[in-house]
Amino acid sequence: MNVAYFSPMPPEQSGIADYSALLLPALRERIDVTVVRRGKKTAPRGTDLALYHVGNNPDAHAWIVDALRKRPGVVVLHDFVLHHLVAGMTVGRRDGHGYLDLMEREHGVVGRLLAHGVLDKRIPPLWESRPADFPLPTFVLEHATALIVHSRYVRDHARAAGFAGPIAVVPHPAWHAPDVAPARVGSGTIVGCFGVVNASKRIPELLRATAVVRREHPDLTLLLVGSTSPGFDLERRLQRLGLDDAGLVREGWVDESRLWALMAGSDVLVNLRHPTMGETSGSVVRGLSLGKPVVVSDVGWFSELPGDVALKVPPDDDEVATLTAALELLAGRADVREVMGARAAELAERDHDVEHVADLYVAALETVAGGAAVDDAVLNDVSAAAADVGISAETAEAREIARRLAEVELG
């Protein structure tokens, strides 16, 4: 089987590009894969199936969705919330009417009116202010013959959005932790937080919780690694919260080897977010490979992490208090960190092993590529046999046959 593979690829700075770079060698050991050059909107000749990696970033994924809309195929849905992508492919291309229509189709007249408000600059862009309330997945789902997703959360939301085709839940593959010397940036417990620094990563809440924990554990260091989102001023946030930068170490965007070294040098990894776009976190998966205990928000994919691997913080009124308790526990109990870390490493090896993930991909692709033809052949065979003995369509007997076919996932 030959698969046309649409995805951002390195050197693009994208989590999904990193993901594909990790997955492709294992996939190529199992099936033929033709990676489609960025911007090309048709699948190469001779390919049996097209596989489209879709995320919420229009810069990385708009060309892929253009190709999908020309030729339906299997979609790897990395985010469920696609409002930003949709906006990029409509408003970003001066197609305001397209945006209005899509908002109306999924959210009725209210959606259209809100979209007007956005286009007229009367209200802030919904893809920034309220994307989770208006996820707009249909734009992609209506062209997908099957979905590969990383969480039950996205599967359930896709079903709720009306997607009726096959959905395979395939874990995010894990990188093998490279052999790097851990970079320790403090003497006590180091709490590492990796990724873009912004409000939806709950950085203000993390700063407040860390300040409380440091009263008991003054040698605790909070390490923030990643670029800062435009509009998020870390120093100002600290001032507003009445906090100083004691115990705070800040590094901007770092390359892969520095990232691993800093992560390896951390004792605890924190990866919070609210609202969730239905995404998986490459940072958390890296942390699992390193055998680190993690603290996450109790949302989306993060909620599905086992309780002995991750402490989960609901994004509610008690968020800071819960987060504080979690960090106090992990700062004070090396034995707990050790057990959770061991479980994390086991999880990475068992569920996120790239060979295992590639097997699941191939199973999903093989099921879909010839699945419809096989279903048709089975149905033709069975219905011809039924017709031969006088059982015609729409009879009780035909319905019974159909029911039993469905029971065993045939036809």
């Binding site: 089987m1 049996d48 199936l49 199973a363 093989e366 099921t367 879909v368 590529a369 010839g370 699945g371 033809a373 096989v374 052949a377 089975v378 065979d381 069975v382 046999a385 046959i401 039993r404 076919l405 029971e407 065993v408 996932e409 045939l410």
Partner: protein, 341 residues
Amino acid sequence: MKIAVCRPQVPFARGGAEIFTDRLVDELRARGHDADLVSVPFKWYPGTRVLTQAFLWRMLDLEEADGQRIDLVVATKFPSYVVRHPEKRVWLVHQFRQAYELDGTELGQFGDSPDDRAIRRKVQALDRVALGEASRLFAISQNVANRVEASTGLTAEVLPHPPQALEYRCENYGDFVLSVNRLDRAKRIDLLIEAAASDGSLEIVIAGDGPDRERLERLARERGLNGRARFTGRIGESELADLYARCLAVYYAPVDEDYGMVPLEAFLSEKPVLTTTDAGGPLEVVSDGSTGLVVTPDVAEIARALGWLREHRDEAATYGRAGKAIATEVTWDRAIGRLLA
């Protein structure tokens, strides 16, 4: 209890599964159950035939027979376990191996086309549903249980069953090595013929019939084994028991066999078994230097091992007796007790 034992039937073929299920019905009846065999023809090619033929089982209504409730069904090998029943117990002989470990080998069935790949996945999906419905899932060997777990995530209890009832006995450790098998490529009887060709004093008797017989007989002729290799074809129970009783050892080296009754039959005749490191199920009872010899699937290794047994008949007898102690532990009383518990 009224019990339906389900097995697919390949017309005009008879092998271990047929012997097993016939015997199971007899043993259930001997314990006072009202047991009967339910059999449906099975053809697994071409194309989607494997799925439509499997689906025939789904259309059966085995909840009642002639107005009387059937309390329990025992399904055995693919696709008999696709049958519906509220008390479906699966005593798994094997899945459709072409969809699993044989895929991509010369024994596989499915090619690289999208349709073939999808059929294979449909068989796997069918297994997940049909085996997942079972109220109890047993496997005839650890090897079969391991395969089920790897392919479906389901855990099967290992429940071996005794071999066919023959008049097992040991008369002597004669000069010939016995092979008992259906003659197909997966049984690797050609390795035994080549081993005999490399050791001029080795005599072999090949019992059984099958599609590979002509090729094997030709190979034996080409290697000049006239008089040292005898093909018996299909033989009766009495003749088989007699061959077991008089042979030096039993050769049994299939590729990743489900379980294999032959080692237990050899053991009940107090004969050691020569098998290979990749034989699968037989390795659960054949231990190197204890109940037989285990070598790599290599002609020279096989010839050397059989030569060693010929030169060490006391050890051969010791291994055979150790095997008998294992084989006599596998009884119908125990098996049926667990099956119906």
